[in-house]
């Protein structure tokens, strides 16, 4: 019955191409959340005692917090007792499963998504950590990376194998009590990716994680931690997708980046969670806390995101510019069609002297989509010579959608220079007609113009990702022209 239903939905909303379900048995905790659930997650992962304590402390803080509602997104109340907090395609200890023993259905899932986990078939130059519901299924190219001292593994493995680093850095950028969803994540997080790049090492391949939600009525609470030690460099990519289901599912991730002196981290996301159908049924609630800290002098962190999926996207990848001369960048494309809502932007916190930040946000609304840019630029008293440039452009398709810009600027140092520019435009009839006169169909024309609008952001993405992002934009715009 359940399967029939999802098949019907698959045919109805053909345009979401990752909406299939993998029929696989899973070890899933019953719905509901209490201390016993947290103990059970920690036990399944064979975590050391400090981790359990950390989780429980976060849980107790979370109990005293209330869900925030300051953003512009609207949704019915979430019943946190109606969610399962752990679902794994493995029974027993997930850490002990070799790739050869992984259920072929799982491997096939990733192949279907274009991410073969067999190293011989995988993309050259990209190492992948594949997270399926609550666990990491496989991590490729680990050996090769280890030769350079690079640690690239699932979070669960890092907690078991590299406890010292985890203890030192986990929660150091996003503390467990940071906000309601971060506290929930700290209590119940299941898996995610851990990367450590040793001093002076330039990571020779792009590291990536592919998140897949498969099980129904589960939440995904992943946790990613990337540490770039002094003068190291790393490029990291994140992709995701989920089956089409007619109920909303919660994805509340925490990502922490730490760049020590002279280190550089480029973090790119192509977010393609199931957005719900044309009437707004189903889809992922993507409530994510992503933050990086330029801890050392001269370090740099760049966030690039293409957000086309999710029913609701609520995230502000931010940079704390602590080191002198450090720089932060945020490049974003957020597209909302049908009933999708996005409230996204960034925070740039200038603490060190001569810190620089650049914000480039491109919002596209179609259908009845709601798209808000919310950004904070904060210059503290010690940030002499700080500079920020913000450019926010919104593009509207049709008359029922909306776009809003909420810039917050707080400057406590008089030598700082903060610039903000914003534009809103409607896709031009003249531009559409021009393209159609050259032979492009209406949808092709819209997609071409939207691509052009996002060009400055898309070109920041690594090659394969930008091709993927262009395709996604085109698919996400389907049905946006009448």
């Amino acid at each position: 019955m359940n399967n029939d239903r999802s098949q019907v939905m698959n045919t109805l909303a053909r345009s979401y191409q990752q909406g299939f379900v993998t029929p696989i048995a899973s070890d899933t905790l019953a719905q509901g959340l209490d201390e016993a659930v947290i103990r059970s997650i920690s036990a399944k992962k064979q975590e050391p005692e400090f981790m359990l304590e950390w989780r429980l402390a976060a849980y107790r803080r979370w109990l005293g917090m209330t869900e925030p509602h300051w953003s512009s997104v609207r949704y019915p109340p979430i019943d946190y007792q109606a969610i399962s907090y752990y679902s794994s395609p493995f029974f027993g200890n997930p850490g002990a499963v070799a790739l050869e023993d992984v259920d072929p259905a799982l491997l096939a899932t990733y192949e279907k998504l274009g991410i073969p986990l067999d190293e011989r078939l995988s993309l050259a130059g990209v190492a992948v950590d594949a997270v399926f519901d609550s666990v990491s299924v496989a991590t490729t190219h680990q050996k090769k990376l280890a030769e350079l001292g690079i640690l690239f593994c699932s979070m669960s493995e890092a907690i078991r194998e590299h406890g010292g680093l985890v203890r030192r850095y986990l929660g150091s950028v996003v503390p467990p009590g940071d906000n309601f969803f971060a506290a929930l994540n700290a209590a119940v997080f299941s898996d995610g990716t851990f990367c450590y790049i040793p001093p002076g090492v330039r990571c020779p391949m792009e590291l990536s994680t592919y998140f897949r939600i498969n099980a129904a009525r589960t939440g995904q609470f992943e946790r990613t931690l990337i540490i770039a030690d002094e003068y190291s460099q790393v490029r990291y990519l994140e992709g995701c997708s989920a089956p089409q289901r007619d109920r909303h599912q919660l994805h509340a991730a925490v990502v922490e980046l730490i760049a020590l002196e002279g280190a550089e981290i480029d973090y790119s996301t192509v977010q393609n969670w199931y957005p719900g159908d044309a009437e707004g049924r189903g889809g992922i609630y993507n409530f994510v806390t992503k933050r990086g800290e330029c801890r050392g002098d001269g370090s740099r962190i760049s966030w690039t995101q293409v957000e086309t999926g999710s029913a609701i996207t609520w995230k502000y990848p931010s940079v704390i510019l602590r080191g002198n001369g450090s720089s932060g960048r945020f490049h974003s494309v957020a597209l909302t069609n049908h009933h999708q809502q996005a409230d996204t932007g960034t925070k740039m916190i200038h603490i060190g002297a001569n810190t620089r930040s650049t914000i480039l946000s491109k919002g596209i609304s179609a259908g009845q989509g709601h798209n808000a840019y919310r950004g904070l630029v904060k210059v503290l008293a010690g940030a002499t010579g700080a500079r920020n440039h913000t450019q926010c452009d919104s593009l509207l398709l049709g008359g029922a959608c909306s776009a809003h810009t909420y810039p917050y600027i707080e400057v406590k140092n008089r030598s700082a220079r903060v610039e903000h520019e914003a534009t809103t435009s409607r896709i031009g009839e003249d531009q559409l007609f021009y393209c159609r006169q050259r032979g492009l169909g209406s949808e092709e024309a819209v997609s071409l113009i939207v691509n052009g609008f996002c060009q400055e952001v898309l070109r920041e993405l690594p090659m394969e990702f930008s091709v993927e992002a262009r395709k996604l934009l085109a698919v996400s715009l389907e049905g946006s022209v009448g």
């Binding site: 006169q437 050259r438 032979g439 492009l440 209406s442 092709e444 071409l448 052009g452 609008f453 060009q455």
Partner: protein, 251 residues
């Protein structure tokens, strides 16, 4: 069969009648010129032929190679070989001319059930046409018309025509804003597409381009109709006298 045949065409824009009974026929291989005072409806006719929705047909028929042109969507007309060189080409930020043209070219190939051109073959095809117009290599990678001068925009329109090789080219004041050398190149481009399978409709205010392409017919659009047709001698007469002497005929 005529490439284009317009019969008793009446067109309104915003309920205001602009064209009232246009008759025109272009045979294969022909170049016709349309002249006429500002606001007489020349661009309206061009836009109507390309399928602009604001142009409401209240009466009449238009056939393109025997097809009922008015029943086709703008992109279908384009794929079937109708090209409009715009009087005021728009800017498309972030989209290179090369990208637009590759999509346009391949859309036409698909429509005609011909194989699509891959990126490398297309780049060569494009480069060759750009060379003919003396356009620098980086031109093709610049966003369509963004920051182009008036004359550059017109050259970009002609480049697109050469790449897409239409069967019916409608060029709306392609000569306005061109310097003397560019005018010569544009004329060459138009002549290059003069062959027994194609036809061109040139909208212009001046005989200088017409001198170089030797149109088969020159028409005057006034009062919503073509009130007089002739050859190059008519264009020269207009250059000498303006349109005043035709007003009686128009009303």
């Amino acid at each position: 069969m005529n490439i284009l045949e317009i019969r008793n065409l009446h067109v309104s824009v915003q309920r205001k009648p602009i064209l009232c009974g246009v008759e025109l026929a272009l045979q294969p291989g022909e170049i016709h010129a349309i002249m006429g005072p500002n606001g007489s409806g020349k661009s309206t006719l061009a836009n109507l032929l390309a399928g602009r929705e604001e142009c409401q047909v209240t009466a009449g028929e238009v056939f393109y190679q025997g097809l009922d042109l008015l029943s086709l969507a703008p992109e279908e007309r384009a794929r079937a070989g109708v090209f409009l060189g715009f009087q005021h080409p728009v800017e498309i930020p972030g989209v290179s001319t090369a990208r637009l043209l590759k999509e346009a070219f391949n859309a036409r190939q698909r429509y005609r059930r011909l194989p699509e051109m891959d990126a490398i073959a297309f780049r060569d095809h494009l480069g060759a046409q750009a060379g003919k117009l003396g356009l620098p290599a980086d031109w093709l990678l610049r966003p369509v018309n963004v920051g182009f001068s008036g004359g550059e925009k017109k050259r970009n329109e002609l480049l697109q025509m050469l790449v897409l090789e239409p069967h019916l080219a409608i060029l709306d004041e392609i000569d306005s804003g061109l310097d003397i050398d560019a005018l010569a190149l544009v004329a060459e481009g138009i002549n290059a597409l003069r062959d027994p399978g194609r036809a061109t409709l040139l909208i212009t205010h001046y005989p200088r381009l017409l001198d170089r392409v030797a149109p088969d017919r020159v028409h005057v659009l006034m009062g919503g109709r073509i009130i007089v047709s002739g050859d190059m001698a008519l264009a020269r007469e207009l250059e000498r006298q303006g349109y005043g002497w035709l007003e009686e005929v128009a009303t």
